[in-house]
Amino acid sequence: AQSVTQLDSQVPVFEEAPVELRCNYSSSVSVYLFWYVQYPNQGLQLLLKYLSGSTLVKGINGFEAEFNKSQTSFHLRKPSVHISDTAEYFCAVSGADSWGKLQFGAGTQVVVTP
């Protein structure tokens, strides 16, 4: 089984400042990692995913994440945020034996202010 911990429930950040959202996971098998974003009153949209290969993954809207196997982490970063990045962000993990089932973290609410 897999589990995911998002270390911050809320992250306030000023516009044009950088942001990092932390995600740690545990698993006894190989994993696939995802970050999803949820804008108010909407479904989830995939930001980026790590399946294999390069540990630095680039996604949509200028986000990137780095897979660190030794630290079992998959932190999400953006160098300069916009007001429109205000949303909830979810880290999710799927085990190689999980048939695509996702285990989600509790979410991190990002609030961008001018």
């Binding site: 995911v4 998002q6 429930s9 696939y32 995802f34 999803y36 909407q42 479904g43 989830l44 949209q45 995939l46 995913k49 399946l51 979810f90 999710a92 799927s94 048939w99 695509g100 089932k101 996702l102 285990q103 989600f104 973290g105 509790a106 979410g107």
Partner: protein, 114 residues
């Protein structure tokens, strides 16, 4: 956007009544999932389907049943609704093999049990 619709989008029902939520896809994807979203818990898997008439339980399946008689439709039934089932329910689909591990989410159904 992936062709996923959910109906109804909002529902208020009374304790003890049965409720059925519908997920419809136009992508011909093999895998379909039902999640519930609650504050502080992220999304939790209720049931999933890996083909017509092939379903299995997820993390929080008690009090829920599912059916899939056609590729495009996945129904979630609350057999006797309770207040603890007040939540936002999301349907997701995954591609034909399930091994891309990328899920596409519907817009959600907000269910209130009074």
């Amino acid at each position: 956007d992936a062709g996923i619709t959910q109906s109804p989008r909002h529902k208020v029902t009374e304790t003890g009544t049965p409720v059925t939520l519908r997920c419809h896809q136009t992508e011909n994807h093999r895998y379909m999932y039902w999640y519930r979203q609650d504050p502080g818990h992220g999304l939790r898997l209720i049931h999933y389907s890996y083909g017509v008439k092939d379903t299995d339980k997820g993390e929080v399946s008690d009090g829920y049943s599912v059916s899939r008689s056609k590729t495009e439709d996945f129904l979630l039934t609350l057999e006797s609704a309770t207040s603890s089932q007040t939540s936002v329910y999301f349907c997701a689909i995954s591609d034909s093999t399930g091994f891309s591990y990328e899920q596409y989410f519907g817009p959600g159904t907000r269910l209130t049990v009074t």
